[in-house]
């Protein structure tokens, strides 16, 4: 028995190749691409620039819009002024007198009053007589000596006047 035991030993397989050195390591890391980050940064940059662009464009557009509305405002104010002037001129005593005379009316000669309480007429009204020629048919106070508007031709739209003063062909 002892002999058996003495001659029993593990048979080591003979290695022909070099033995790889193995070690226990963690699972390999997935390599992170830089693209998304770069894309994000680029996106932010582009978005910012775009926003600035949009703002600037919007501001400029608004500025043009303001100018257009100012023109409109001026055009309407001019219209309103012209109408106001015309209204004032037409309601002046001289204009009214002229138009009345043109219609053949004469200045009142007798004035009478009606008492609304009892219907009584105070005064002695008579039908108006046509004015004697040369006497009351002349208008003594002429209308205002203003140049009358020349009939307009050409533009129906007012031209650019940015409202800040002078303009010309430059």
């Amino acid at each position: 028995m002892a002999q058996l035991a003495a001659h029993t030993y593990a048979v080591r397989p003979r290695r022909t190749a070099a033995r790889p050195r193995l070690a226990l390591i963690a699972r390999p890391r997935q390599e992170r691409s830089i693209v998304p980050f770069a894309a994000l940064i680029t996106l932010i940059l582009v978005a910012t620039l775009a926003a600035m662009l949009v703002l600037n464009v919007s501001m400029t557009q608004t500025s043009y819009e303001i100018t257009r509305l100012q023109e409109q405002d001026i055009a309407l104010s001019q219209q309103a002024q012209a109408l106001r002037e015309e209204n004032e001129m037409r309601s002046k005593p001289q204009e009214l007198e002229k138009r009345a005379r043109d219609l053949g009316m004469v200045p009142v000669q007798d004035v009478a009053f009606v008492d609304l309480a009892n219907g009584r007429v105070v005064g002695d009204p008579k039908p108006a007589q046509p004015a004697a020629p040369g006497a009351a048919d002349k208008q003594l106070i002429p209308p205002a000596d203003l140049p009358r508007a020349v009939p307009e031709r050409g533009a129906s739209q007012p031209l650019y006047d940015y409202g800040m003063g002078n303009e010309g062909r430059d």
Binding site: M59, T60, T62, S63, Y64, I66, T67, S77, Q78, Q81, A82, E85, E88, M89, S91, K92, P93, Q94, D110, V111, F113, V122, G123, D124, L140, I141, P142, P143, A144, D145, L146, P147, A149, V150, E152, R153, G154, A155, Q157, P158, L159, Y160, D161, Y162, M164, G165, N166, E167, G168, R169, D170
Partner: protein
């Protein structure tokens, strides 16, 4: 390894050298550019951007809009409107339609033809204005916006338009003496325009902004604005319609009787408001250059004259107040009488008359008046005249008022002591004397006249002027008696020149001789006599012969009083006028 060929060609210079030269060239160029960039952006940036800002910065005055002048009902008597001045750069006109193949004419000729119907100027005139080398020449000024639009639509090179403001007076001559006028560049020169200029002109503003190529405001540029403060509107007490009618009447009267001029003053007795202050001759403030220079003022306050018989009213009032006479006191009045060596005569020969005090006033007897006046000292009479507001300016806020002439009683030498009792020997202006007579309508209190009702603030609310000064001159009883005397003066029947149908009228005529040989005819009266609302004075100056106040002025008075009462909706009360005893034998 060299080949066998013996001809050794010289190799061209090695490209490396050329390359290097080019590279050096580029490098130098880049260096220069880089240097310039650093210079512009880094070192000199401040100065250059400063220049750029200056180039696009625009400074403009924002003109303040001048306030309007309105009548008591808000009708516009003076206003500022937008107009344009059309100018030309003569050097550019030649290009008009130069590239247009269909044009039969080009340049100045064509432009003049197009502009003529729009401007109302002749083609020849326009050609002259458009020809030359001037860079700036006015063609026509103060055109309306619609005209300017039409002119600019022609697209004539070199034609431009400047904004301008023009002051217009839609009523023309009506109220011109009160409203006043401005110069062609907007400076106030007379009337209310001048006296109230401080309120009317406002304050100019200022704006600075950066301008784009098309003229727009650059929104992100610097932008400062100080707003203009527009002028305030001034509201007068004048009623435009009554003013117009008064002007018509006085113009007709002056013409009819060949006077040199005339005035009508209409005052609301309760408030002292001057409802109308008309005169002839006058001017159109839209064209002040066309008027005679001495007509550009207000003759009704600057001209003084002796009131004549209307002055008897003040003597009578003083006598009644002092208690030295009563309306029914009996007098024996010859045509002529001597006082202290001076002969006083009545205006017309008459046998001795037996008149009451009321009759003395009605007949306008100088002799009778002096007899009554002599019961008071000159000093007393002088004080009453002063209390009535004579001899001092009324204080109207209009330029050029004369306070009249009233010498101190110590200087009433010789004839003057007596003539002052019948309205000669002192001088008044039309407003002064009319306002003084208004005292009797106001229960004996003299209210100073006013012509400006108030000023509108920024919100359009009227801020009235201060209340007028009021002084008691005579007692209410004396004032009532004076009204009776004046009522008695004017018979309320159609035969009387001063008669107003439906109303009791009171007043006094006046005819004064002026040292230069002409006469002033006047009539001052009030209505309705039971409660007078208006006092009106009519004055015609420079009459070539003796035409009495009754003949000349009284009918005009009836006309304007009638119009005023109707316009102001005063209804007849139905009460008859007062008649007193004028004679006693």
């Amino acid at each position: 390894m060299r080949s066998g060929a013996t001809a050794v060609r010289t190799l061209p210079a090695e490209p490396h050298r050329r390359h290097r030269l080019v590279l050096i060239g580029i490098a130098i160029f880049a260096l220069l550019l880089g240097g310039r960039l650093i210079w512009v952006q880094g070192l000199n940036s401040a100065e250059l951007s400063e220049k750029a800002v200056q180039a696009r910065t625009v400074e403009r005055t924002i003109p303040a809009l001048r306030g309007d002048i309105l009548d008591t009902n808000g009708n516009v008597m003076a206003t500022s409107v937008l107009r344009y001045d059309i100018w030309v750069d003569q050097r550019q006109v030649g290009d008009y339609r130069a590239n247009d193949d269909t044009a039969t004419e080009t340049g100045v000729k064509a432009a003049a033809k197009q502009l003529a119907p729009l401007t109302g100027m002749s083609v020849a005139d326009l050609e002259k204005k458009l020809t030359g080398k001037a860079g700036f020449q006015y063609i026509i000024r103060n055109v309306e916006p619609s005209e300017r639009d039409a002119i600019m639509a022609l697209d004539i090179p070199g034609i431009g338009a400047d904004r301008a403001t023009e002051r217009i007076y839609p009523g023309g001559m009506v109220g011109a003496n009160v409203v006043g006028f401005v110069s062609s560049d907007g400076q106030a020169l007379g009337g209310t325009e001048l006296s109230w200029d401080e309120h009317l002109r406002g304050q100019d503003g200022h704006t600075t902004y950066e301008r784009g190529a098309g003229g727009q405001v650059i929104p992100s540029g610097s932008n400062t604005t100080k707003d203009a403060v527009d002028g305030q509107d001034v509201v007068l007490t004048i009623d435009e319609d009554i003013q117009h009618r008064a002007q018509e009447i006085i113009t007709a009267k002056v013409k009819e009787w060949n006077g040199t001029g005339g005035s009508i003053v209409v005052i609301d007795t309760a408030t002292g408001d001057i409802v109308a202050l008309a005169e002839d001759p006058t001017f159109d403030p839209n064209q002040p250059a066309k008027a005679k220079p001495d007509l550009l003022g207000n003759q009704s306050i600057s001209n003084v004259f002796e009131p004549g018989s209307t002055g008897k009213l003040f003597t009578m009032a003083a006598a009644l107040e002092e208690g030295v006479t009563t309306p029914s006191e009996k007098h024996t009045v010859p045509y002529s009488k001597e006082f202290k060596g001076h002969q006083v005569r009545d205006s017309h020969q008459h046998p001795t008359q037996y008149l009451t005090t009321a009759g003395v006033l009605k007949e306008s007897s100088n002799v009778g008046t002096v007899e009554i006046a002599n019961r008071m000292s000159p000093k007393t009479r002088y004080e009453y005249l002063r209390k009535f507001g004579l001899g001092q300016p009324t204080g109207l806020p209009l330029p050029g008022e004369s306070g009249g002439i009233l010498h101190k009683p110590e200087n009433w030498t010789g004839r003057t002591e007596f003539t002052t009792s019948f309205g000669q020997g002192y001088a008044v202006n039309a407003v002064q004397v009319t306002s003084a007579v208004g005292t009797f309508a106001n229960d004996g209190v003299h209210v100073r006249p006013r012509i400006v009702k108030g000023v509108k603030d920024a919100k359009g609310v009227l801020r009235p002027t201060q209340k007028q000064q009021a002084d008691r001159v005579v007692s209410p009883e004396t004032a009532a008696t004076m009204r009776q005397l004046m009522d008695n003066d004017v018979p309320d029947n159609p035969d009387s020149n001063a008669h107003v149908p439906g109303f009791a009228v009171g007043g006094k005529t006046g005819t004064a001789q002026v040292p230069d040989g002409t006469y002033t005819a006047s009539f001052i009266g009030m209505a309705p006599m039971d409660d007078p609302r208006y006092v009106i004075g009519v004055f015609v100056y420079g009459l070539p012969a003796y035409f009495s106040g009754n003949t000349v002025a009284a009918p005009a008075f009836a006309d304007i009083m009638s119009y005023t009462l109707h316009a102001r909706r005063v209804t007849p009360s139905g009460k008859d006028g007062v008649e007193l005893d004028n004679t006693w034998k």
